[in-house]
Symmetry: C2
């Protein structure tokens, strides 16, 4: 191992970065909320995911391409290669903080398989082999060819940084160079129907300092929305994949949510490295449109099942929410890049909110089952699954958990340590070590102690949720603190449960409220509210909550409050005169129990809802 600086987003030399990264190895988490999940990720999830890569024949696709296995067909989606790449990225990041010889051996074996599949000219994609070799680069619109390459680039950079080994980085460079001959300045304009490679190419540039890759990323962003299209191929749905207008003119989040947010992350990476005011302005408009018009209360993105896409402004159905887990991961990735560029706390606020309420629901408490779609209201039939035919989400959660320390803190050029997320552990910089003590998110107290021998400067995020500035971007900002050696400081953010309501233009949420406590969104599950149907429950308007524990969710703070319930079932009428008094159902008071949304669907199946009526 030659490096000790495993960065996830390496802004150490980025021209427009306000914040610089702290290596994964130097942010050591010891908390009881995230670190047990990360431990499960290392010891259970990453191993079981490799087994899935074998079962789903993803690995055999590489063996077929390399000739190590013959007489078999390609199996799975045309983007199946990316499953392995995301797994490599996740394992590499995990090894940076937690060496594991068994996992490392599987990692190296996997890398050996994929390296063997690379073609002499640098090409690598197991779908486009043999009978499909002729189809290479013919269908950028649909077939995810550059997308898969992007995930390889990310995996390679993470592997190089975490292990110091260059084998995979070389594979990535050869493939990137191959793509550059086609779509670089000497080639034609081309961009992928599924953005992702843009952000990956910028990271490959950061790892290699080869400007070619940065230029290629820029070209791919600029290629979108042109006539004739650079996203050529067999499809024609331009808005779906953000090819309907040039990126600089894209002032909303639209189309397929994951594509939109990966593209925005890629544009953010470009603006970290280069002055591109039009790209920056477009991102500001997109972010405003997302957070003010098109974001679920969970931070989730994507209102429509059709096209896994964003809807119109204020179109945010609870039951038919798509809110793909991958879109939440992509939102975190985009916001982290905006945070590193600006140091604006609103991005860290949204990362926190999205991690707890949109990413985390995507994985079971057991660490082995996943949600792809995350409705905010469900009849109990929606359950997590062990894997998917389209398996994008599981390794996406795994890599994010493995990279979680990178979201906790950054450092600026004055050596001030910026604390973004509150997770107990220690943060080491050249100036020394700071310990973080907290029982977040269950409690709002956070203590920082300077364990080093020199004065340390901190900037500590004051969460927006402490100021009634809920989810949105009223300045909450960072609080400057100076700690002498041995000195400690303590913040106490009040995690009082409160109700929130949606903008009146969200017509589907008129008359409904949601309950939050600290950074967590709560929901009502049938398993805790077994009297009748939870759709018959109302919150009282004078809300008082007590904190409780509930069966089957150890360590989770549940909330109990008094409300009402229809004693008689409401009328069978779908519509009735509001003045009709003949069949008014009677109400009785009813205790209501709420649990954090991330924990839902981990016990007996039953109805769940986040938004509730108020009496």
């Amino acid at each position: 191992m030659t490096l000790k600086e495993t960065y996830v987003i390496d802004t150490t030399q980025s021209k427009n970065a306000t914040l610089r990264p702290i290596a994964l190895e130097n942010i050591r988490l010891t908390d009881t909320f995230w670190e047990p999940r990360r431990a499960k990720n290392r010891t259970v999830t990453l191993h079981s995911q490799y087994d899935k890569l074998e079962e789903s024949k993803c690995m055999d696709n590489f063996r077929r391409a390399s000739g190590r296995k013959t007489g078999i067909d390609f199996v799975g989606w045309y983007f199946a290669d990316s499953d392995l790449y995301k797994w490599i990225e996740a394992v590499s990041a995990s090894l940076a903080t937690h060496p594991d010889p068994d996992l490392e051996a599987r990692l190296e074996a996997g890398i050996d398989e994929l390296a063997a599949a690379q073609q002499p000219d640098g090409y690598l994609n197991t779908y486009f082999m043999f009978e499909r070799e002729k189809d290479r680069w013919t269908d950028l619109h649909v077939l995810h060819e550059i997308y898969c390459a992007g995930h390889l680039f990310q995996a390679a950079v993470m592997h190089y940084r975490a292990t110091g080994k260059t084998q995979l980085l070389t594979v990535a460079e050869r493939l990137a160079d191959h793509i550059n001959t086609r779509f670089g300045p000497e080639g034609k304009r081309g961009a992928c129907g599924h953005p992702e490679a843009e952000l990956a190419l910028v990271e490959l540039f950061r790892a290699t300092r080869n400007e070619t890759y940065l230029t290629l990323a820029e070209r791919m962003i600029e290629a979108r929305g042109q006539e004739p299209t650079a996203v050529y191929g067999s499809g024609n749905n331009k808005r779906y994949l953000q090819d309907h207008v040039p990126y600089k003119d894209l002032k909303e989040v639209t189309g397929h949510a994951v594509r939109m947010l990966y593209l925005a992350a890629g544009a953010a990476d470009v603006t970290l490295e280069k002055d591109a005011p039009e790209l920056r302005q477009a991102q500001d408009a997109q972010w405003e449109n997302f957070t003010e018009r098109r974001m679920y209360v969970t931070g989730g993105a994507g209102a429509r099942h059709e096209g896994e896409s964003f809807g119109a402004d204020y179109e945010l159905p609870s039951d038919r929410a798509y809110a793909e887990t991958c879109a939440a991961v992509a939102s975190v990735m985009w916001n982290q890049r905006l945070l590193l560029q600006t140091g604006d706390a609103k991005y860290a606020d949204l990362i926190e909110h999205t991690l707890y309420n949109a990413v985390l629901p995507g994985i079971s408490l057991s660490g082995t089952e996943y949600f792809y779609v995350n409705p905010l209201e469900n009849d109990g039939t929606h359950r997590r699954q062990a894997w998917f035919g389209c398996a994008c989400c599981p390794p996406n959660i795994a890599r994010l958990l493995a990279q979680l320390p990178s979201y906790v803190a950054s450092i600026d050029d004055e050596k001030t340590v910026w604390i973004h997320q509150f997770i107990a552990g220690e943060i080491e910089t050249e100036q020394g070590v700071i310990t973080v003590e907290t029982n977040y998110p269950w409690e709002g107290a956070v203590a920082f102690t300077n364990k080093g021998t020199t004065t340390m400067h901190l900037k500590v995020r004051v969460p927006a949720w402490t100021q009634h500035a809920w989810v949105d971007h009223t300045p909450s900002g960072y609080n400057a603190v100076t700690l002498e050696p041995g000195e400690a400081t303590r913040f106490d953010f009040p995690v009082t449960p409160l109700c929130i309501s949606a903008h009146p233009y969200v017509s589907s949420l008129a008359g409904s409220v949601a309950v939050v406590r600290g950074p967590l969104v709560y929901c009502m599950e049938a398993v805790d509210n077994a009297e009748g149907d939870i759709r018959d429950y109302f919150l009282a308007s004078d809300l008082l909550f007590t904190e409780e524990s509930v069966r089957g969710l150890e360590g989770v703070v549940a909330l109990k409050t008094k409300g009402f319930r229809y004693l008689t079932h409401p009328s069978h009428w779908l519509y009735q005169n509001t003045l009709h008094n003949g069949e008014r159902p009677s109400l009785e008071t009813q205790a209501l129990t709420l649990v954090p949304y991330f924990a839902w669907a981990n016990r007996e199946a039953g109805r769940m809802q986040i938004w509730m009526r108020v009496s």
Copy 2:
């Protein structure tokens, strides 16, 4: 012309019919609401639709198949033939009441073109010709082959009844016989991915008394939901096309809405002719599920754009409503069959409601532009179009308008005339003539006069909406009236505007109300409410309406009431603490104008919503 009994659904000999039809010729409408629309249908729409059949190359597809045109390709969807068939059905029905030599000439020319395309063995489908001949009957799941035949059967029966000519009926019989050799008792089980032929085959049986066709219809209904599937072919989405369970076990409305409702109409036709208690029970369950869980307040069917399908119980989003115009037509067709069987007013109530609020919005006041999708809330970008690539809806509205008299009244075996729908005109039976005078739906007064020379017995529907029994099926029933020669009776149904609310389980409508007046659902359009954004408007809780006229909608009763409006625009926050007082927007009183939903989008484009918040 040899016949004077142009029936749409001929239950004159149906074993299980409570009600018998009155011929189109014998219900002469003279009202100022529907008859001008029907006149426009005859003089404008049906002519312009034929032009579209030429422009869209639907007619050339027949000429290609017959060899009258060569060197051209098939153009359009694989179900394009059905556009001509529905047009023929519409024109035939129209000629029954309003002879028109020009239209009849076009009709006969069209029939000549299609008859020439019939193959020696009786086969007729212009898609499956030449290079695709080998594909006949290979893909029932997707390719609508039997569906197209069904529309031909309906067209042929209507043409025969209206004109007495047998040419098209013979074409239909030859095709039906051809299908019977494949899928009749001597053939294999088969049913179409898109139900429609079932109801058509029963009508073909009624016109020819050939039991083969009734048996074939039965077999096609029973074939669904079997293993292995009888709806074989290239698709695999069984629920989408009601092939996931046997029809007798289908206790909900699910999947593609038009398919579901045509299938139900076909099953209703079978139960009119034969004792089939399991089919009847399934229909009762489907009807209850539809009207109590899955129907829009407009009567519209289909909550999801994905699959043009029904959603889950209580899933009824306003903005993303699909509510296809064809599904509304199909609902009317299904309910009419249930009405003829039972004489239960609830079906006539729903027909009335659906005609005014779900079918009629599908066509512009000009009679030349159409909605395929009918949202209940829209930002003003959804506008009617002159035609569609998938042109199912325009001729479906046209045939329903042409057949409208058949929905007005029926007769029972005691010669009592049942009045279902209130439209001014005269109804002639063997007993004599009854005149109907009314300004319905604008006014609720309806007068009936016996113009004949013998005592007449009537049963007059008392609309459910007069009894707070809104849309649903609390018995409203028929009021028996006996009229001596020259005697008149008058009903006065109070068309007082009132507010209705949705079942509390429709979470997207919590806190919202809709306004109705008589049979009409009202909406708010930006063009009449130009101060600010109509999403800032609230109804007052103490509702008082005045009746008004509005610019651009002559003859329409608009409603005006006092409400409130946010003076300052609401916060830019998407979600906020409900206790947050910093940014409470101020309200001012505001006059609100509402117009009937059917009339929306006929003036300047702008936002529209049916459901409104109440202060």
